[in-house]
Amino acid sequence: MTSTTRIVNGKVYDPANNIDGEIRDICIKDGRIVESVPDDARRIDAQGMVIMPGGVDIHCHIAGPKVNAGRKLMPEDHKLDPHPETAFTRSGSGGVVPSTFATGYRYATLGYTTAMEAAVPPLSARHTLEELDDTPVIDKGFYVLLGNNIFLQQLIKEGRQDEFRQAVAWWVNSANAYTAKLVNPGADELWKGKGNSNIKDIDEKNDDISPRQIIEAFVTTVNDLGFPHPVHIHCNNLGHSGNYKTTLETMRTAGDKRLHVAHIQFHSYGGEAGKNPTSKAAEIIEYVNQHPNITCDIGQVMFGKATIMTADAPLAYVLRGFTKNKWINADTECESGCGILPFTYQEHVYTHTMQWAIGLEMFLLSEDPWRVILSTDHPNGGSFMNYPKLIRLLMDNSFRKEEMGLVNQKAIAKTALNDLDREYTLNEIAIITRAGPARALGLKNKGHLGTDADADITIYDEMENKEMMFNAPRYVIKSGQEIIADHEFRGDHNGKLLHITPAYDEKIEEVIQPFFENYYSIEFDNYEVDDSYLHDHEVIQTTQSQS
């Protein structure tokens, strides 16, 4: 059955196609946007409404073993926020780490239709794919953790560049991932094997390898392989005062090659290690502004409940030392560490206010919204359900100033926030939540409303209060299917997996297998994830894809 729809009378914000608030028709046929549809097509009257492409979350934690560990950890949080079924949709639990079903539906209720899980050990790829298949509505993919992979580090140390390149391609393929993720590269061994310590400097060598060598090797290789999204890095020293130097050095290490710096707010702190942080937002964002090869997402902190969940296990342990709260550590053999704990950002706390302010400073000092993307590093900086409030903070200077009055004034006084009066436009919001992340991900059919784009569309009532506006789209259309109409669920949709299949020489398996047999606890044969886990999926092309 052919389904066709014409959306009329709405104000369209489609920055990728240079459309900034024009009234124009959007036509949909068979899940894609087309030039025109017959007159008898179903019509949606969007009079008084704003039309945008569906939102794209470039960095969040929504599926896989650490997310599920975080879910299981917090019954008290779920209990306060049940997610009831509707006639069309499954029930679930909300809170900071919602169940898979609630996650998909809640992204939809914000007008988001694509989200990328940002950190998965290859050994847990199957688990992640199973959860993503139970995460409805949105299209999704994940980044695979390779920055502490013991075997890959051996190849780097031994200068076996070609084999390294083949192995990276093999690993991304075997997991069905979207790109390579580095988290606190080179630090796992210190955590697991040397009494819970951590790396302090990008040039500090541990077992004859430094973070910088790992970063260089991955940035070069992933650029050579032509992944649609570059290396996605969580830099060393996250959260530590004075870490902005590490962040600058990390970006410099990439030279002019592409690099995505995740939750950059957490990496923009001045001051001395162990003491209160100061803001280095200006220094970091200046580097980003000047270097078009760098993309980043902010990782904005929002006051209230959050959950720290990260492959950066030593960081989670440092935070656990502050809160003394329940804590999870989970080591994955040869591949990764992981730390999880509940966390609350509080207005009166100097450091928390500083983090909040630094994120806002970075948004407001950004000169290229295409490369400075909205995120809360859900759930680390707060739930993705905070996005509407964050959008209002960016679009509404007087609201921002009111909120600034409610937080730690000593911290605010040390930032430039008082002097920043910039207000984001709807067009800029459409860039940092849709067009920008889609472009940074290399998703040519997402983040815009041009011909052949995926018909992932959000229609908001235009309102003065932008938090209210972005909290409740009137219509959400996913792949041409009406999921939400008049603010209510009218259908369900499974969404598809987005992944890449970079080319590699199969001989690399003979190189990897002996290591595997000695040091892994599962068989090499049973490691690679087969197609039965992919369900509905789309391969995004690399410049060197497997045929």
């Binding site: 073993p65 079924e85 139970d134 697991k192 094997g193 109409a485 009218r490 040091y519 892994y520």
Partner: protein, 450 residues
């Protein structure tokens, strides 16, 4: 023996939570029988050898009479949707693909779902919710652990290859000499078949695990303990001090524990104390802990219920969203209280091991059973399905005791449907039958709009 022999390399054994995936199976394809399971332990060999197809058994029965698959699905869906408090239980010996369908049924029918966790490591889940857990995959133990403690568990009889493949004799990256590089400690109330493997055997008084763990926590925090601790726990202060020093000074320490902690007096308090002990030890060294889970995919059902609902077991959907309350929504309780008025048991035989009052209730209410073989539960079932066996006849996923997902490689076909096929069919029918009840009252109208 026929000529038609096939071998399957690196097949996965789902008998216990070790989920060893290095088993080479020799399969007689004419007789539909596994004749050899290389590298499997005694338990695994029996698991593979025992599964033969009983062609005479019907795929589906209602009240003991053979019916078609469709009739049985219809009856099951009718029973479940007509009940006020239908329960689903079992699920620890089936694939996650089947488990996901079971959760969907519970959700659609506003029923209750629970797994065998509620009678084994349920308290572990509750302790986890309370204090968290420092843990690892089994490969980390293999590669790094120089202190391995088994507490209230008996791997020699329950998880034989935990010793050889993962935790004791196996050689790893930083423990190249295997057992010689490790210190093995066993804490139990009695001598067991596992005792000989340990360098240090500690005999704790029954029911005094909590006190012993708490004393260790105190010692590790540098507090003084009175020598009278020996009268309480049966373990001398010197032995406790020695163990606490070993724990603090190892490079990578691990505790595996079993139902000696979870099903003894103290339950989740015991496990919470142990988790806290492991957390405390991370101030001194790297320390982890892991329940030695029993059934092949009991870890998977915890994962699946958690990702679907936010809670690991004992979940009720009566109000149209999940609620968790062990003691109320756990299966022994829903049966003994008489609340359950229909039950579906999947890959589990509760009628053989539940309390008498629970079994009496099973006899009073309509029961649906899914099992490869005739069991006491399937014998009292109103609707009984004969299923194929996961890992022997079907593909799918199981989660090892350390949460690592492992794929299955079936050995031979079965004429019987898989749990997943049966549950998917029931789910689809339950979905249809419950549309009117779910969501808002104008549901049907909306359906037509969409």
């Amino acid at each position: 023996m026929s000529e038609n022999i096939q071998t399957i390399k690196n097949a996965t054994c789902t008998f216990c939570g070790c989920v060893c995936d290095d088993i080479d199976l020799t399969v007689d394809m004419d007789e539909n029988r596994i004749t050899k399971a290389k590298r499997a332990c005694t338990l695994g060999r029996a698991w593979f050898a025992e599964h033969v197809i009983d062609e005479d058994r019907p795929t589906a029965m209602i009240d003991g009479k053979e019916v078609s698959f469709d009739e049985a699905v219809e009856e099951a869906a009718q029973v479940l949707t007509k009940a006020k408090f239908p329960i689903i239980y079992g699920l620890s010996d089936t694939t996650t693909e089947a488990q996901r369908q079971a959760v969907a049924i519970a959700d659609y029918m506003h029923g209750t779902i629970d797994s065998t966790s509620s009678v084994c490591h349920g308290p572990t889940g509750m302790a986890y919710q309370g204090v968290g857990e420092s843990t690892m995959t089994l490969g980390e133990v293999k590669n790094r652990a120089d202190l391995v403690i088994f507490w209230g568990c008996n791997p020699a009889e329950a998880h034989p290859r935990l010793f050889t493949r993962y935790a004791v004799t196996t050689k790893g990256m930083f423990v190249p000499k295997g057992k010689k590089d490790r210190t093995i400690v066993l804490v139990d109330v009695r001598k067991t078949a596992s005792s000989p493997v340990a360098n240090i055997n500690i005999r704790v008084k029954p029911g005094k695990d909590f006190e012993m763990i708490w004393a260790l926590r105190a010692l590790i925090k540098g507090k003084k303990i009175d020598p009278s601790i020996e009268e309480v726990t049966g373990v001398s202060l010197e032995a406790l001090q020695d163990l606490s020093e070993r724990m603090k000074n190892c490079n990578y320490g691990v505790v595996f524990f079993g139902m000696g902690l979870t099903m003894a007096r103290g339950r989740h308090f015991n496990v919470g104390a142990l988790f806290s002990l492991a957390t405390d030890l991370n101030e001194h060294t790297h320390f982890v802990v892991r329940p030695a889970r029993g059934h092949g995919n009991v870890t998977g059902i915890d994962q699946v219920i958690t990702w679907s609902t936010g809670y690991p077991f004992g979940v009720n959907f009566n109000l149209g969203y999940p609620r968790f309350n062990p003691g109320e929504f756990t299966t022994v309780d829903t049966l003994c209280s008489g609340a359950a008025d229909a039950a579906m048991f999947i890959a589990s035989d509760p009628a053989s091991n539940f309390p008498k009052a629970a079994i009496e209730q099973m006899k009073r209410i309509p029961v649906i059973s899914l099992d490869p073989k005739q069991t006491i539960t399937s014998s009292l079932a109103h609707v009984a399905f004969t299923t194929s066996v996961y890992g022997i006849n079907t593909t799918g996923t199981v989660y090892r005791m350390d949460d690592v997902p492992i794929p299955l490689k079936p050995a031979f076909d079965s004429p019987f449907p898989s749990d997943e096929e049966i549950l998917t069919a029931i789910k689809n029918r339950v979905f249809e039958l419950t549309i009117a009840k779910r969501g808002a009252s104008d549901t049907r109208e909306k359906m037509q709009v969409a």
